[in-house]
């Protein structure tokens, strides 16, 4: 098993996931990605077991790769009409 991820690694993974979330064109998927990362990282905050930490960290990294690929593919088929939630009230 790989060594336990350091605090910096965890925060970098968190930041990368949030950045990937920003790249999605679809409002719903963007919000879901943000919500899911926040919830998952909060739930796992209390973990202290080394192997559980590594497992959660590698799971997060795998999800990051998935999200990156999905963001790229979604951007190829971006809808022309923006969601109403994206339009700021003027």
């Amino acid at each position: 098993m790989a060594a336990a991820p350091t605090r910096i690694d965890v925060l970098q993974l968190y930041r990368s996931l949030m950045r990937v979330a920003r790249q999605f064109c679809d409002y719903n998927i963007r919000e879901y990605t943000k919500r899911r990362t926040i919830d998952a990282f909060r739930d796992n905050k209390i973990l202290t077991n080394c192997s559980q930490l590594s497992a959660a960290f590698s799971d997060g990294k795998a999800q990051l790769e998935v999200a990156k690929r999905r963001a790229l593919v979604y951007s190829l088929y971006a809808p022309k009409v923006k969601s109403i939630m994206d339009i700021k009230p003027s």
């Binding site: 910096i8 925060l11 968190y14 949030m18 950045r19 990282f41």
Partner: protein
């Protein structure tokens, strides 16, 4: 040399004094346009206001405690994950890309304001 001087005399325009188009100071000023791309830099008050707005609209923050000197983790009781979220929200507000190394150092309102004010691309 003489040829060069003759050609230059031909090419060089004689200096003309422009006729005074009235003596209104407004018309003189309208001819002066600043083409610098840096004159729309944000003022310090604007940066402070917008940063405080972003922090106050964070759901876990008590808006009454937010001052320009507040420390995210010590005064507002947030943790490092919330810190990352706040820095992301500031990135979105000011349309910046803050690198990870700098973002890790932004721990308090003060540092955020100073960083954004000094950033040339803050919009």
């Amino acid at each position: 040399m003489a040829l060069r001087a003759a050609v230059l005399r031909h090419i060089r325009l004689p200096v003309q004094t422009l006729p005074a188009i009235g003596t209104r100071p407004q018309s003189q000023r309208s001819f002066l346009r600043l083409f610098s791309s840096h004159d729309d830099h944000l003022t310090k008050e604007e940066v402070i206001d917008r940063v405080l707005d972003v922090i106050k609209s964070f759901p876990k923050v008590d808006p009454s405690k937010v001052t320009p000197d507040v420390h995210f983790q010590k005064d507002l009781g947030l943790d490092s994950l919330d810190n990352v979220e706040i820095v992301m929200a500031l990135e979105e507000e000011f349309k910046l890309e803050i690198p990870d190394k700098e973002a890790d150092k932004i721990d308090s309102c003060n540092l955020a304001i100073v960083y954004i004010y000094n950033h040339p691309m803050a919009g």
